[in-house]
């Protein structure tokens, strides 16, 4: 599959590790298209933008093809990566005629969710009885009770949002941080058994970033040409938060077990733990949590099968798979690569 635009330099290809926001450069220089010298005229930029869309999605077998493109890393510089991710995550249906309606439906769902969970007790409707509805009320049903619980949860999320990709300027923006916090908060409230767990913030961040990049490209392309209705709807920057929420929710369908701390076995008693083999592998001592089972399997089976030497080395050094594996799996390898590589990688992992 040949996409002329895949050669185009993407802002994410700039070196992130310097802490410099590549998007700044991108905005200043105006066009990704112009950077490669291929399409220095505004007209051809917009044409190529349209063509890139058509190449990706105007094909009877497009879904299989963009999956393949994602796996082989060819979406790296695509300006519609967020659309591809939505398709991988089934946030968008395969049938393109439903894209706009589905998008609107999900956005209005988030609108309702947010309205329901992010409430100001002073404005809350309903309970007007001041015995219940006052800040000092101990009543379970008091909107103030909820308000204080929410405050605690929000504080917990906010603390982690402040530590999200600290080296990238985009995530230092107060507005972006508020969006991340609100999305995670709504997710926690919608999934009370899971709530918010550390690591979710690092799954959400790349999603938000990819949406943001595509929105930037869209806004630029719209200056010179009239985009299609689908583009206008799907890439509307006003709905970044809504779309990110829908994508996170879908992603968590897969990732949820790695965040669960549900223990499947009764823990071993202290006696047994202390009398077991000295310096025995910590991975064998703990209770059976889904993620521990998973990382044990990675080391004891996958690594052993594919790299016996590495497997022996790890065992010799008594390196438990938890040390590297929990981070790998819970963050879907999000921390193991620089962000721009990760964005390609996550796309691949999704499919």
């Amino acid at each position: 599959m040949q996409h002329p635009n895949l050669e185009t330099r993407h802002p994410l290809q700039a070196d992130e590790e310097t802490g410099f926001d590549p998007l700044h450069d991108f905005n200043k220089n105006h066009s990704r298209g112009s950077l490669n010298g291929r399409s220095s005229q505004p007209q051809s930029t917009s044409l190529s933008y349209r063509k890139e869309w058509d190449d990706l999605f105007l094909n009877s077998n497009y879904l299989a093809r963009i999956r393949q493109a994602g796996i082989s890393g060819r979406l790296r510089s695509s300006r519609f990566r967020s659309v591809c991710w939505k398709l991988y995550l089934e946030v968008l249906p395969e049938d393109k005629s439903q894209w706009i309606s589905k998008t609107r439906e999900l956005r209005s769902q988030y609108e309702k969710i947010k309205e329901m969970h992010i409430t100001n007790p002073r404005k809350a409707k309903g309970q007007q009885d001041l015995v219940v509805n006052n800040p000092l009320s101990q009543d379970e049903g008091s909107p103030w009770n909820k308000f204080f619980q929410d405050k605690e949860l929000k504080g917990m999320i906010k603390q982690d949002v402040l530590r999200t990709f600290p080296e990238i300027r985009y995530f230092q923006d107060e507005d972006v941080r508020t969006k991340l916090t609100d999305i995670l908060f709504c997710y926690a409230r919608e999934n009370e058994q899971l709530l918010y767990k550390q690591g979710m913030h690092e799954l959400l961040a790349p999603i938000v970033f990819v949406l943001h990049c595509d929105h930037q490209a869209f806004q630029h392309a719209s200056e010179t040409a009239s985009p299609s209705e689908e583009m206008k709807c799907l890439l509307n920057p006003a709905y970044l938060e809504h779309d990110a929420y829908a994508m996170l929710s879908q992603l968590m369908e897969t990732a949820e077990p790695w965040f669960s701390s549900f223990e499947r076995e009764v823990r071993k008693g202290k006696e047994e733990m202390l009398t077991s083999i000295p310096f025995s592998r910590p991975q064998d001592a703990g209770p059976s949590v889904a993620i521990v089972t998973k990382v044990n399997r990675i080391q004891d089976q996958l690594v052993k099968k594919h790299d016996i030497e590495l497997h022996m080395h790890l065992n010799r050094l008594e390196i438990a798979p938890q040390i590297y594996g929990i981070r790998w799996v819970r963050l879907l390898f999000g921390r193991e690569f620089p962000l721009q590589d990760l964005l390609g990688g996550v796309g691949r992992a999704l499919r």
């Binding site: 603390q159 530590r163 550390q198 690591g199 733990m273 910590p282 949590v289 050094l317 938890q322 929990i326």
Partner: protein
């Protein structure tokens, strides 16, 4: 590098109290104000000298959030020392100490030396927990206590080293059975040269870390 003893430590406490920063300050002598939060468990090492003997500290830095508790618990076992950390600017992190302590005592060997640390002592203006409260808690539960600042490095060396001294004294007194490695203590290798391959591959992450 050869060492006389290896002591295994764990660092525990609520999320955001500065566990990873304490470790980084101790192993690398630097402070990183904003960093990725710890997912699961991280690892650091450094060589210190006590009583003229080289002692290697192997430190396990655990994630603070409750959801990791069931995973990190298994690291309590076989630790000779624990740094239990709270944030002097956040009362709730102090209030949770009892839970942490119960958890640590339940899953570790009874001789484990526990150092209580009130971190972020540089943020005096935002202090919510008095130093006396920390001292009282430590006295009541038989812990050693110190206030530290991972930012200014104040008392960081002392916290790690004093814990080691206490463990070392217990060894001298015969409290620890050093032949039982479940106590978190290993006697150094008899033939240091056999360890050379390990030191080569482990040197990278924590520059001050020495070898394994």
């Amino acid at each position: 590098m050869a060492y006389a003893y290896l002591f295994k430590y764990i660092i525990i406490g609520d999320t955001g109290v500065g566990k990873s920063c304490l470790l980084l300050q101790f192993t690398d002598k630097r402070f990183q104000p904003v960093h990725d939060l710890t997912i699961g468990v991280e690892f650091g090492a450094r060589m210190i000298t006590i009583d003229g003997k080289q002692i290697k500290l192997q430190i396990w830095d655990t994630a603070g959030q409750e959801s990791f508790r069931s995973i990190t618990r298994s690291y309590y076992r076989g630790a000779a020392g624990a740094l239990l950390v709270y944030d002097i600017t956040r009362r709730d992190t102090f209030n949770h100490l009892t839970t942490w302590l119960e958890d640590a005592r339940q899953h570790s060997n009874s001789n484990m030396v526990i150092m209580l640390i009130g971190n972020k002592s540089d943020l005096e203006s935002r202090r919510e927990v008095k130093k006396e409260e920390g001292e009282a808690f430590a006295r009541e539960h038989g812990l050693i206590f110190m206030e530290t600042s991972a930012k200014t490095a104040s008392n960081v060396e002392e916290a790690f080293i004093n814990t080691a001294k206490e463990i070392y004294e217990k060894i001298q007194e015969g409290v620890f059975d050093i032949n039982n490695e479940a106590n978190g203590i290993k006697i150094g290798p008899q033939h240091p040269t056999t360890n050379s391959t390990l030191s080569g591959s482990q040197g990278g992450q924590h520059a001050g870390g020495g070898c394994c």
